[in-house]
């Protein structure tokens, strides 16, 4: 049985464990219908031209873990931003781990999707926001919607800000030979509210894992969201991340994506600007080796006038790794005075590495500033000579230059401890012995 059939037949088993009377279930049923019709995307589709899901579909993934698993904090401590105090929403093989988590209802809700989807006190929020910005057409998103049951639920009321950043962590234990996970997150930030979130998926063994995640983010007027995605998973793990962001006037949303690991990673990052004076920022650092594959597909839809978007993606590709960057910007006719910037710079450090980069601009307004640029190159020889002439050997000099190239994106990271972590990860990935503390 192929993966699609398995998923569809699993849906019936899934229904035994959820409240089918809940209106949310109507949404799920619509969604599974869409997925059944469309199936997994194939390379024939333009948006999937460079990323194939064929080999993943041949793997016999368990759709539900057979049992609840536990892990010790000391064994996974390094995956947390343990240098500082954080709220934590932790899942082990898709199941919430209260032992590793730290949630709150103190003025803000930082808790679970399973609670939000079932308890009456959250009904109002769910009715307004659940599945409202996520695509109802895109097959993988609808696949996630069909199985939506668990994930992070974060609600920040007007004028509030949680005392500390929130970490969302998904661990896979490897107790299943191959496991498919479908977390569903909902993040609502009301007027003048603010939140910082770090998301990470981490497999703890070499068993196959496929995560198909959907995150919906709503930022109301003057809301601020900083979202950091750390993608440094094991070589047998694949991630399809579908993130949908709906912004209202004067809100500021920044998403940083750090892609350093995993087998196949696809980021579908979609911004919808439903208001004026909105700022949307997407930044990414991708450092790959072996046969790793990362595909960044971004969309910014400028729907109203006077908004900005900034995209800055940097990639370093070694060995036989492949990268894709497809940045789509739509500026509607009424969205005058839009400022949209897009930059994608890549360095190939191996003859066998590949990058496919494509800006896609659809501009219907006439008074806008849109710029885009992509570069693919090797390291600057003059810069290399400069470092060598100071006594730094070629290998170290190369690494230091790549570090500097990637590091540039980190300026906008607002959690200092996280910035240092990422700095160190970049240095480690590039084999730079910095010889100094950051």
């Amino acid at each position: 049985m192929d993966l699609k059939d398995k998923l569809i037949s699993s849906f019936m088993a899934f229904e035994n464990n959820v409240d089918v009377e809940n209106p949310v279930h109507d949404v799920r049923m619509e969604a599974i219908k869409n997925f059944e019709e469309k199936g997994f995307p194939s390379k024939k589709e333009e948006a999937w031209k460079y990323t194939s899901l064929n080999s993943l579909q041949k793997i016999d993934f368990s759709i539900f873990p057979k049992e609840e698993n536990t892990i010790e904090y000391k064994d996974v401590k390094r995956y947390f931003l343990h240098e500082i105090d954080t709220y934590k929403i932790v899942f082990i093989d898709g199941i919430y781990s209260s032992y590793l988590s730290e949630t709150t209802h103190d003025g803000v809700d930082i808790c679970l999707m399973s609670a939000a989807l079932t308890k009456p006190m959250y009904k109002q929020v769910i009715d307004v926001y659940f599945n409202k910005v996520a695509s109802k057409e895109e097959s993988l998103t609808t696949l996630n919607t069909a199985f939506s049951k668990e994930g992070a639920y974060i609600y920040i009321p007007k004028n509030k800000m949680p005392k500390k950043p929130i970490e969302i962590l998904h661990f896979a234990t490897g107790n299943e030979a191959a496991l498919m996970l479908q977390p569903r997150n909902l993040i609502v930030v009301e007027e003048n509210a603010e939140v910082q979130i770090i998301e990470r998926h981490q497999s703890l063994t070499s068993n196959e894992v496929l995560t198909n995640s959907v995150t919906e983010i709503f930022a109301a007027e003057n809301g601020i969201v900083d979202y950091y995605k750390i993608q440094n998973d094991a070589p047998e793990s694949s991630l399809i991340d579908n993130t949908y962001i709906n912004q209202k006037g004067k809100s500021v949303v920044k998403v940083h994506t750090f892609s350093f690991g995993g087998k196949l990673t696809r980021n579908n990052l979609n911004f919808y600007q439903n208001g004026e004076y909105i700022d949307s920022t997407m930044k990414g650092v991708t450092i790959l080796g072996d046969k790793q594959h990362v595909d960044h597909h971004s969309l910014v839809h400028h729907i109203e006038p006077n908004c900005e978007s900034h995209q800055d993606y940097k990639g370093i590709y070694g060995d036989g790794s492949t990268g894709v960057f497809n940045g789509k910007i739509i500026v509607d006719k009424i969205a005058q005075k839009t400022n949209a910037f897009q930059q994608n710079n890549n360095i190939l450090i191996s003859d066998k590495a590949t990058i496919n980069t494509k800006p896609q601009l659809e501009i219907f307004a006439d008074d806008v500033k849109c710029s885009h640029g992509c570069t693919i190159g090797q390291l600057d020889e003059d810069a290399l000579f400069y470092l060598q002439s100071r006594g730094i050997p070629k290998k170290e000099a190369r690494a230091l230059l790549m570090y500097a190239f990637a590091n540039n994106v980190l300026e906008s990271v607002r959690i200092p401890e996280l910035k240092i972590r990422i700095n160190k990860l970049i240095a480690e990935k590039l084999g730079v012995n910095l010889g100094f503390d950051l």
Binding site: F385, S389, K394, L434
Partner: protein
Amino acid sequence: MLKITDLHAQVEDKEILKGINLEVKAGEVHAIMGPNGSGKSTLASVIAGKEEFEVTEGSVALDGENLEDIAPEERAHKGIFLSFQYPVEIPGVSVTNFMKTAINESRKAKGLDDMPANEMLKMIREKSELLEIDRKFLSRSLNEGFSGGEKKRNEIFQMAMLEPKVAILDETDSGLDIDALRIVANGVNKLKSKDNAVIVITHYQRLLDYIVPDFVHVLYNGKIVKSGGKELAMELEEKGYDWLKQEAAV
């Protein structure tokens, strides 16, 4: 100390240096002047070991050792320093951390342990004071957003830290206002000793008012066409290069 013998060098089949002879002894300051495109910067890069340039004939030797096939970093370890005309920007690496890396790599090459942190800090403090460099400046990313003057001052700061035997200053005066020029020249003068040597590459005589050369050489069309004392620089300032071009053409 540095001996250049019949040096020919080319880039992509175009010969730029066409037989240069120059001997620089410890304690000396040499100025190399010449019009644009005469090969001044190429000479500096070839001495420092830039791979883009191919040495087709002749040699560069430091303390009797031929530097042929020696990588730029090893030349640096042996005591060659080049102050760049256009220093490269390295975001994310502070001036201090860059110097720590450079010094410790050099020590590693000599079989020494890393310089102890307190010693390093003391050295950084002393040398930055010498060049009137502000503390805050040292924590900024290397050359990123630096003004022309800051970049050059930073180059001489690096020279002070690395304590080379032979320092080549490539157009260090370009882009400097008179105050920055004075600071840079003062720094170089304080670093001068009977055990090291300085080669100043410049268009103009201006810098030589501050760093007084023992010898002045005029490079034209890949060759040294005239050598003399510091009065030659004055003569060039007054008369320009044309008379030398004519002399060379004869």
